[in-house]
């Protein structure tokens, strides 16, 4: 068990290094010469060279990469070109709304999509099943921002039940927090729900045809018990895998959702950084999101052994 954990954790190191290398290359090949920008218009080529040397920009790629990596490991993501603030500082300011949004979306999606998938598998071939599958196909064919605008139009503008835009911190009370965040969470969660409902239905269909399910049925276990105890536990591994892989969709979608609902999170920070070509900020956010994604999938892999103790690599 412990050996598996250690091996799995070690296996993420090359992936993390690869991600770091890509993200660093991004800044490395980004247009605009920082030395020339700092030196200003009046500087002679010699001055630019001197500044370049003093910044260490004339050293080889790999040397700079590992130095940058060293800084990143110490929480230093560089300085924004636009605001001159440390990128880590800017990220820290913006992280709360994004984490809130993604957590709520995750809770919402899991609690809706998994029962939906289970019921679709149980009622296989019926109208309910078809309906769930249809909603799922629509769900992953509709871009997040379209769902966002549609929901905001219906529930905020037409019905006036919820605020159109904005974000309230959870420290100011649960109700205003949820009122602001429920539409973005549903918009962001739809594609994720579609993915999860489909995979839940598919694996449950597989599991429900197993012998032990028939045995459970024969010995008189209640339907609910069979579905949610016997079957779902054995269907957990593929479902959890999709929870992990689908997290990438959630990250990408969060960037868009925050733009639609004017949520001042990391997504907004990214979009603003793109418009200003603020490469260190783009780099920092991409790095953070990618590391989160890798960690989520590491956690998923480690969870496998909890759901299915037979798994040993």
């Amino acid at each position: 068990m412990l050996a598996y954990f250690i091996r799995r954790v070690l296996a993420t190191i090359p992936v993390v290094l690869m991600v770091a290398l890509f993200v660093f290359s991004l800044l490395y090949i980004s247009p605009g010469d920082p030395a020339a920008i700092i030196a200003g218009d009046q500087a002679s080529p010699e001055d630019v060279e001197r500044i370049r040397a003093s910044l260490g920009l004339d050293r080889p790629f790999l040397v700079r990469f590992f130095e940058w990596l060293w800084h990143v490991m110490h929480g230093d993501l560089g300085t924004s070109i636009f605001t001159n603030l440390p990128v880590s500082h800017m990220i820290a300011q913006r992280i709360e709304p994004t984490v809130s949004l993604m957590t709520l979306t995750l809770i919402l999606s899991l609690s809706v999509a998994i029962p939906m998938g289970v019921i679709a598998a149980w009622k296989h071939g019926t109208l309910i099943d078809r309906l769930v599958m249809m909603v799922a196909v629509f769900g992953y064919s509709t871009p997040v921002f379209v769902v966002g605008y549609l929901l905001a139009y219906l529930f905020a503008l037409q019905l006036d039940w919820l605020p159109v835009q904005g974000f309230t911190s959870i420290t100011e009370g649960l109700v205003p927090f949820l009122r602001n965040l429920i539409l973005p969470a549903v918009a962001l969660g739809l594609i994720y729900m579609a993915l999860l409902a489909r995979i839940t239905r598919a694996t449950m269909l597989d599991v429900l045809s197993q012998d032990y399910v028939r045995t459970a049925k024969a010995k008189g276990v209640a339907q609910k018990g069979i579905l949610f105890v016997h079957a779902l536990k054995n269907a957990a591994v593929p479902i959890v895998t999709i929870v992990g892989i689908g997290f990438a969709t959630l990250i990408g979608g969060a960037v868009v959702t925050e733009s639609v609902f004017a949520i001042p999170g990391l997504g907004r920070l990214t979009v603003d950084a793109i418009l200003r070509r603020d490469y260190p900020v783009i780099q920092g956010v991409v790095l953070l999101f990618s590391f989160t994604y890798v960690l989520v999938n590491l956690a998923v892999d480690l969870l496998y052994t909890v759901f299915d103790p037979r798994i040993r690599y």
Binding site: M18, L26, Y149, T249, V256, S259, V286, N297
Partner: protein, 303 residues
């Protein structure tokens, strides 16, 4: 088991058949295909319609999609302006019609580019053992960066143009193809007929052409269809965020991005292109689902 009938002596005899067997249900080839593969038929026809719209855009559009008419800005949908006009007075209907060109071009080009890139690298990884580990680690790294973020980052490096959008999305999508092709190659290499071909000295390119590629085609087609759908959403998302197709080109994402500022009062500017985008993506996804069911019955059962 209704076919065997027992006679008085206990012997089984053939049941008497009616003189005239009921006519087997005959359907035309087209109707038969629609009946067997409803999702392919429906998805394919909607996609075909969109392709026609894209090709005949100059004839379908009522006015030049980039023509400014400041005096007629933000008109609601009417007889004259079917989908209304945007804040610069441009006709939204004509823009949406022309927008189909961008989405389809990006979708198909990304699917083709990602397939070619992914297949090539997948074949290399599958056949060259020492390169395999390196290529696959690079793919793992690329796949660890959420696709749309990678595309955003790449777009931030370059000028906004349709070519760059295609490349950026293709870079984010091709590792999936690479993994798929490599997987097929690795499993095929164990097949006796491939081993026999290797043992009898067939050159690798010939093996690839004769044995590997034909077996890759079915899953590749399915994957390419889904990549096409996700590239269309990707282009719209990038344009919507202001990092995609240059604003001068009317793409569905751009129209929506421009409608953003006014969407609370003039929601139709956002919703008309959105409907077209969703319909097209839905059609491509249905086509992909149908193709998967038709080409790989094993997968069809699972998903």
């Amino acid at each position: 088991m209704s076919t065997s009938v027992i006679d008085a002596g206990g012997h089984a005899v053939a049941p008497t058949l009616p003189d005239v067997l009921p006519e087997p249900k005959r359907r035309g080839r087209v109707m038969g295909f629609i009946y067997r593969h409803p999702t392919i038929a429906l998805g394919g026809s909607v996609l075909g319609l969109m392709v026609l719209i894209a090709i005949f855009a100059p004839f379908l559009a009522t006015v030049d999609p980039t023509a400014l008419a400041p005096a007629k800005r933000t008109r609601p949908p009417s007889d004259l302006y079917w989908f209304g006009t945007d804040m610069l007075g441009r006709d939204v209907y004509s823009r949406v019609i022309y927008g189909s060109r961008v989405s389809l071009t990006v979708g198909f080009s990304v699917a083709a580019l990602a397939s070619i890139l992914g297949t090539t690298l997948g074949l290399v990884a599958g056949f060259t053992r020492w390169l395999d580990a390196i290529v696959m680690r690079v793919m793992d790294g690329l796949m660890s960066i959420p696709g749309i973020l990678l595309a955003i980052a790449l777009m931030a490096l370059t000028r906004a143009s349709m070519k760059n959008v295609i490349i950026a999305i293709a870079v984010a999508e091709f590792p999936r193809v690479c993994r798929l092709v490599r997987g097929v190659v690795l499993s095929l290499r164990e097949q006796p007929y491939v081993e026999a071909a290797i043992a009898s000295g067939t050159r690798i390119p010939v093996i690839i052409w004769r044995h590997i590629l034909p077996n890759t085609l079915a899953p590749l087609m399915v994957q390419a269809t889904f990549i096409c759908a996700s590239a269309m959403i990707g282009e719209a998302t990038l344009s919507f965020l202001g990092a995609g197709t240059p604003p001068i080109i009317p793409s569905w994402g751009n129209i929506m991005a421009e409608g953003r500022a006014l969407w609370q009062v003039k929601p139709y500017i956002v919703f008309f292109p959105a409907i077209f985008l969703c319909l097209t993506v839905l059609a491509v996804n249905m086509l992909g689902d149908g193709l998967r069911d038709a080409l790989d019955p094993r997968l069809a059962k699972r998903l």
